[in-house]
């Protein structure tokens, strides 16, 4: 379905770009599909030729310069994509006012941009990596090739960009992997664990650990419930300042403390008049505690 939609977008103007894409897709389908089947060790050491070892200050500086150049190129792409999008939207508007049938509306310019952005992604530009991860499923390629790309790009993001806002954006996509047609849950778990380990920012660590719970629940692993609980406890304990930590605390509270047979934890609160009262003021009575509202 996606495939035929994507193909129908290739207008004659886009033919060159389309040909390039087909070539790229062909190459990808052949090579990384094999990489997917390769043992884990072989795969993790494969994509790091340009990664700087922190102990080598010259290499670190060279990589920083490379990334600065790549960032410039990405910004240029973004600006040009914005222009393309504006032109495309205007042309679509025209086609609509002329009453043309939907098939004759102009094709999306997105596919034409894919090869350019993908080049930057493969060179490790973090924002291009996120863009590609987001868009690759719309290219109409073979699923194996799509997954191989995602695998590689996510791998770069967590290995080289664990402290960036790009990784934070990628976590939103990574957390929904692990269902049919996407990356295997085990790989999503592994990537998120790496992200949490590699990042030095507690806010990103907390987001990665919290995201991990989703593919973990989809994984069907025998120890998934125990690992989920351990994650929630870790989030509640070590990341209490973050939204994810607070949410974990509430979830644990709901599952462990607020269960039938336990004494309800007491609270002190105020009513709408500002008068303080406690739940334990009602001890000795049967109490219906009702979270409600008129809205």
């Amino acid at each position: 379905m996606i495939r035929s939609d994507a193909n129908s977008h290739f207008g004659s103007a886009l033919l060159r770009g389309a040909l390039a894409l087909v070539l790229v897709a062909g190459a990808l389908a052949a090579a990384p599909a094999a990489a997917l089947d390769a043992p884990r060790e072989a795969r993790t050491e494969q994509p790091k030729p340009e990664q700087a070892t922190p102990s080598d200050p010259v290499a670190v500086e060279r990589r920083a310069k490379e990334l600065a150049v790549l960032l410039e190129r990405w910004r240029a792409n973004e600006t040009a994509m914005g222009e393309d999008y504006k032109a495309w939207r205007a042309a679509t508007q025209d086609a609509r006012t002329q009453g043309l049938p939907r098939e004759q509306w102009p094709a999306s310019p997105l596919l034409g941009w894919f090869a350019k952005n993908e080049e930057l992604a493969d060179l490790g530009q973090p924002d291009a990596l996120v863009w590609c991860v987001q868009q690759v499923s719309t290219t109409g390629r073979e699923l194996a090739a799509i997954l191989a790309c995602k695998d590689r790009w996510y791998g770069k993001l967590v290995a080289e960009h664990a402290d960036t806002s790009a990784l934070e954006k990628a976590l939103v996509h990574l957390r929904v992997e692990g269902s049919p047609g996407s990356l295997p849950a085990a790989r999503a778990i592994e990537l998120l664990e790496q992200a949490a380990r590699n990042s030095t920012k507690p806010a990103i660590q907390a987001k990665a650990l919290s995201a991990l719970i989703e593919p973990l629940s989809r994984s069907g692993l025998a120890d998934a419930p125990a690992r989920r609980k351990a994650l929630l406890e870790r989030l509640a304990k070590d990341y209490g300042e973050t939204v994810e930590g607070q949410r974990a605390k509430a979830t644990l509270n709901g599952e462990v403390v607020l269960t039938i047979g336990n004494v309800a934890p007491d609270f002190t609160t105020k009513d709408a008049e500002g008068v303080e009262f406690k739940l334990s003021d009602y001890r000795g009575k049967v109490v219906v505690l009702d979270f409600w509202g008129f809205w």
Partner: protein, 106 residues
């Protein structure tokens, strides 16, 4: 839900029973007006919205969320509604009554 809660409070007004609300309306004036309009007699904690501190601590994900506690403060039922809620409260009141009877018989 509110008519049923009112009925419950009215029916059990001479029993050792209390309905304790945790209100999640955003607008305090609106809440107070509605309390008057609907004749709500029970006390509620004021949270100022569904993301209030108690709602978060109690992991409330939907509304209404209802806990029924016995006279010792133990959580005995979660999210009972309608007739089920009536039966839950009646069962716990009966327990309390039996306990007191047993005490006075000693």
């Amino acid at each position: 839900m509110i008519p049923h809660e009112k009925e419950l409070v009215e029916r059990l007004k001479n029993k050792p029973f209390a309905l304790v609300g945790v209100n999640t309306d955003k607008d305090k004036e609106y809440y107070k007006r509605q309390v008057a309009v609907h004749g709500v007699t029970w006390r509620s904690s004021w949270q100022g919205g569904t993301n209030g501190p108690l709602c978060r601590e109690w992991n409330v994900r939907g509304y209404p969320t209802i806990y029924v506690l016995d006279h010792k403060g133990v959580i005995r039922f979660k999210n009972a509604r309608g007739k089920e809620l009536d039966a839950a409260v009646d069962k716990l009141l009966k327990e309390l009554e039996d306990e007191e009877k047993a005490k006075s018989a000693k």
